[in-house]
């Protein structure tokens, strides 16, 4: 019998090794797998490469993982924000490596990894400093830059509902990077707010089929608030 339901976050993250590349979903306040990031901090893996759209906000979540000195390199599109002080300090003191990637390239490089694509030519960033040193080609009169996939050892994503086969649905713009990251990692862990019986998710509406998911963990239903702070639905 297939049962991808993990009893705890710790159980789902038990195998994460030092030196792993960890894909972490989320954009702004939406879709951040906060409980899994906290779990990764507790789990202890270090020397990580983290792939996320941003580089952490405030002092919690990804910022706390950075602050704990566990991240060697971050691959992201938009590290600098009003409250990215933890990343800013590490970067300015040379204690973290940054690979800055245009957001569409970030998504497509992750997608390519999940789809078994070896590399792809893309028009984004042609002629800019973010394409320096990269192979280019003119195809049908347009200029393209060669981009390589980003594979993850682990993906940590936040979904809404799931079943024991690992099928997932998402909620609103919290979907963002989750579905592509799920395809691109050897071990994908998703949090869900609700675990349902097989067949209860409308097959027409399943966004991530379970083949891409290794473990799901149910967490209490929480409402995401401004700044990404989460409080329980009861007190919301």
């Amino acid at each position: 019998m297939i049962n991808k339901i993990a009893l705890s976050v710790a159980d789902a993250l038990a195998g994460v090794k030092d030196g792993s590349t960890v894909l972490i979903g989320g954009f702004g306040t939406a879709g951040i797998p906060a409980e899994l990031i906290d779990g990764l901090i507790a789990q202890g893996a270090k020397d990580l490469t983290v792939v996320n759209n941003n580089a952490g906000n405030g002092e919690a979540g990804l910022a706390a993982l950075l602050k704990a000195g566990r991240v060697r390199k971050i691959i992201c599109s938009f590290p600098r924000q009003a409250d990215s002080q933890v990343f800013d300090a590490l970067y300015r003191s040379g204690r973290i490596e940054l690979e800055l990637v245009p957001q569409g390239n970030l998504a497509e490089r992750i997608r390519a990894a999940g789809a078994g694509i070896g590399a792809f030519f893309c028009p984004t960033a042609y002629g800019t400093e973010l394409a320096q040193g990269k192979e280019t080609r003119e195809i049908n009169g347009r200029h393209y830059v060669l981009e390589y996939p980003i594979h993850g050892d682990v993906a940590l994503i936040k979904a809404e509902r799931g079943d024991r086969w690992g099928n997932l649905t998402y909620r609103m713009s919290a979907r963002n990077f989750g579905p592509v990251m799920a395809t691109a990692a050897r071990h994908t862990v998703a949090t869900v707010h609700e675990i349902v019986e097989l067949g209860a998710l409308d097959p027409e509406a399943i966004v991530t089929p379970g083949i891409h998911v290794s473990k799901i963990v149910r967490i209490d239903h929480v409402a995401t608030q401004a700044g990404g702070i989460k409080i329980s639905a009861k007190s919301a």
Partner: protein, 214 residues
């Protein structure tokens, strides 16, 4: 000495909105371009795209009705119109890069007369670079429009022969909407679409330090 009145931010947003056709799929960049949404002429149906996976994005919710799972690219809470859809990030950027959006409206630090765009970095030493979706948007939409003031606070032209700031994209800007004039960027340089009343053509050229075809 010519006497003229600059377009206010709202007037500028209204001017941009006038040119957005019925049925257009549009991405409005962070900052001033978001004002354009408030000025779409009545009777025109325009579908707004947000890079984080929304088509049919609606206005900000009423106070107290915010849902932080539903935000725009600027991370502000928004709503979804009836008929709207959600999709993941790779699909969202495929919409841009695949040329499916009709128009994107962006802010800029500099635009060259042939449409090179610089809007992501001032290249200052020690600054932390951040690009987000700017490079994908600039080269992806069928038409990229820039909405900006023509002059910096110091009075320098932001329309230039060649950008000195790091580029976002090459020859990607079709039009510049500004407080003084609307300009088209062509392979041969700038062409005037319109300007505010009372501003002489020669005075505009002098402000920019560039020739503008009438």
């Amino acid at each position: 000495m010519s006497s003229y009145q600059k377009r206010s931010k709202q007037e500028l947003a209204r001017r941009v909105a006038q040119d957005i056709h019925d049925g257009a799929y549009v991405n409005l960049g962070i900052g001033m371009p978001t004002l354009v949404a408030n000025h779409i002429p009545a009777g025109r149906e325009v579908i707004l795209h947000s890079e984080n996976g929304i088509l049919g994005m609606g206005p900000a919710p009423a106070a107290g009705a915010e849902d932080y799972d539903l935000i725009n690219a600027g991370k502000q809470p928004v709503t979804l119109l009836a008929g709207g859809a959600y999709f993941h990030h790779a699909d969202s950027f495929a919409m841009m890069r695949g040329g499916h959006l009709d128009i994107c409206v962006l802010g800029a630090f500099q635009v060259s007369s042939t449409g090179d765009l610089a809007n992501w970095s001032t290249g200052e030493p020690g600054s932390i670079p951040a690009v987000g979706g700017a490079m994908d948007l600039a080269i992806g939409a069928k038409q990229t429009w820039v909405m900006m003031d023509l002059l910096t606070k110091q009075g320098e032209s932001k329309v230039v022969a060649q950008c000195s700031y790091p580029l976002t994209g090459i020859a990607c800007v079709k039009r510049i909407y500004s407080e003084l004039a609307t300009l088209e960027c062509t392979p041969d340089g700038l062409r005037l679409i319109d300007k505010v009343d009372g501003l002489e053509h020669a005075a505009l050229e002098q402000l920019l330090g560039l020739p503008i075809a009438a």
